[in-house]
Amino acid sequence: MGLRVLAAMSGGVDSAVAAARIAEAGHDVTGVHLALSANPQSHRTGARGCCTIEDSRDARRAADVIGIPFYVWDMAERFQRDVIEDFVAEYAAGRTPNPCLRCNEKIKFAAVLDRALALGFDAVATGHHARLSDGVLSRSVDPAKDQSYVLGVLTREQLSHAIFPLGDSTKAEVREEAARRGLTVADKPDSHDICFIADGDTRGFLAQRLGAAEGPIVDQGGEVVGSHQGAHGFTVGQRKGLRIDRPAPDGRPRYVLSIEPVSNTVTVGPRSALEVTTITCGTPVWNGPAGRDDLTVQLRAHGEVYPCRFDETGDGLTIELGRPATGVAAGQAAVLYSGTTVIGSATIVSAA
């Protein structure tokens, strides 16, 4: 007897193929599209996002082709509170959040999973590119599409109710399979950016919610070299858009080194000053096996991977990188891997 599986269907090609595969494997599958906006038109128009009426229809059409029941669940309130408001608050606090990761942690594998379990489902399946076997999460065979990073925050309990049917396939294979199965979303463009920021203008989105507040841009010595319209418009490691008219004494480009929300100060400096080797994190989530061979850490989505070692402190984690990293922003997740297997994660608090 198969499992009762809720397949989260965004309207994209990945989740459609994921649903088709588990249905074909003999499980009792129900497709659910998550409506994340109370007013869907206000989100991205076109076929790139995951929040439009068109996406909802694409998901329904795919479910019809697969031959599974399909429903729309209204998750707009939870999404607003746990993802959008969290996103704004994190920026206001000088940190750089990852909303996709937060959505997995708080919506797909929390609110949706809880509701699914209460309604008698055994698991939630998604079209994420990651492998999951016996509750152990590891990278997709397609390194360019691997999404284990944004799933690395899930607990063992959450992972025990998750199914990721695409981890052994490349994106190209998934598209080919979609076409073979007659799923019309086969050639739909990949989604990028942040689904709730329709025009991709994150700075404008934040300015609208947090307001403009002029503040100083200072160098490492504390000297004011420019001004800005709100510290929330900046991310550690950012080089473009600083609008400093005075060149640095050595003529080299300047980067955002840190953001101090209380004094609304942005500190800039040379690239060399961005390099860090010690990363301090909050309480870790251990969700993988005990093995500690070939340890690496990934510090942002689709980011570089660094060899590392780590020590657990009282209520956190200190990670020592094998070579320096640049642009490490507080608020992002540090996901630890042993080889290609995720062993745990923690939120970055500071780096030096």
Binding site: I53, V72, W73, A118, L119
Partner: protein, 372 residues
């Protein structure tokens, strides 16, 4: 579809033609259309000339609401009940948004009834400015049947045209167009066991709304478009059959409905029956399940082979609390936790048994899942 309707329609599908043509084929098709018109008029207490064929209920409602408003300019008040179907409500709101109309929603009581005094008081606030009144014969969600002839008479006291959407009523309760006193009445094929995509507006003689569709003027110059003779033949056969069998159907479904209501109340303590307890459609049962989300319950019942409906769905498929239940005074949570069980000519007591078998566990589970 009723076998009579399928037969009448397929017979005509084999013999295409345009009822407006003058040649022999046209005459033959015209005869089918006119006989269908006579059949429908006869079944619903109207004159044949009062039957205006449309593409269905939505078009008929639009023609009545917009057409009466335009023909009654410069009057601006549009009075519609708060529990109308969107096919009446949305044209009315469009008139308000785009055509300077003053749309006033007539309040209903906790059972969804429009009280005659409510209509009278609304009209008398400024009778000379009222363009039209539209109140449905029976509600599609909660099944409440309105006292149409009383309401129509109040509108006529002031010379105001009265439209009623009787899509849900035809074949379920006795419907006489002349007896109701309404100036316009909407019906549609698929609600009487006929084809989808065909309906009619019964339009009293001498009443001329401005058309919504301009063109060949085929239907009394009020509605244009080549007539769909096969669909019209199917509609007529369905209306005739449904009306002929109305009394027997109402008796059978009414008994099934009362049994369903009694057994659901026993099986699930705390359920609330919505709609008028007495004056309701024989095939309609509508319950609120406190602590449940209707969507969750629907999904669980669907998985067990029981098909039912929640309120109206918005375009993205996100269930919104029903405007009908909200107008009846329900709060948003109660409105979201409601389901309609419709009984039709294929429903049997086995269906009720099946529902009672699976409902308590589904409610229990939906309650555990909470209100989302």
């Amino acid at each position: 579809m009723l076998p009579e309707a399928i037969e009448a329609m397929t017979e005509q599908l084999k013999r295409p033609g345009n009822a407006s043509s003058l040649h022999a084929t046209g005459r033959r098709v015209r005869r089918v259309v006119e006989e269908s018109r006579e059949t429908i008029a006869d079944a619903l207490g109207a004159r044949p000339s009062e039957v205006v064929f449309t593409s269905g209920g939505t078009e008929a409602d639009n023609l009545a609401v917009k057409g009466f408003y335009w023909s009654r300019r410069p009057r601006r008040r549009v009075l519609v009940s708060a529990v109308e179907h969107h096919a009446v409500l949305d044209p009315a709101h469009w008139l308000g948004d785009a055509q300077d109309a003053h749309v006033e929603l007539l309040e209903v009581d906790e059972h969804g009834r429009v009280h005659p005094e409510t209509l009278r008081a609304a009209i008398e606030r400024d009778p000379d400015d009222v363009a039209l009144v539209s109140i449905m014969w029976a509600n599609n969600e909660v099944g409440t049947v309105q006292p149409i002839h009383v309401l129509a008479a109040i509108a006529h006291d002031h010379g105001i045209p009265f439209h009623t959407d009787a899509v849900q009523a035809v074949g379920q309760v006795p419907v006489s167009f002349t007896g109701s006193g309404a100036d316009a009445l909407t019906l549609t094929g698929h609600k009487v066991g006929g084809p989808i995509g065909v309906g009619a507006l019964l339009l009293a003689r001498g009443v001329t709304p401005i058309p919504v569709l301009h063109g060949g003027g085929q239907e009394r110059d009020v509605r244009s478009g080549t007539l769909d003779a096969p669909a019209i033949a199917g509609l007529a056969a369905a209306v005739a059959t449904a009306v002929k069998e109305q009394e027997a159907t109402a008796r059978r479904l009414g008994a099934l409905r009362d049994d369903l209501i009694r057994r659901v109340r026993e099986a699930v303590p705390g359920v609330v029956l919505n709609g008028d307890p007495v004056d309701r459609l024989p095939g309609n049962v509508h319950f609120s399940f406190p602590g449940c989300e209707g969507d969750a319950l629907l999904m669980l019942l669907d998985a067990k082979g029981v098909e039912c409906s929640t309120g109206s769905a918005c375009s993205a498929g996100v269930a919104q609390p029903s405007h009908v239940l909200l107008a009846m005074g329900a709060d948003a949570a109660a409105a979201r936790g409601s389901l309609r069980f419709s009984l039709g000519h294929t429903s049997t007591s086995d269906d009720v048994d099946r529902l009672i078998e699976v409902l308590p566990a589904a409610v229990e589970r939906a309650r555990r899942a909470g209100l989302g």
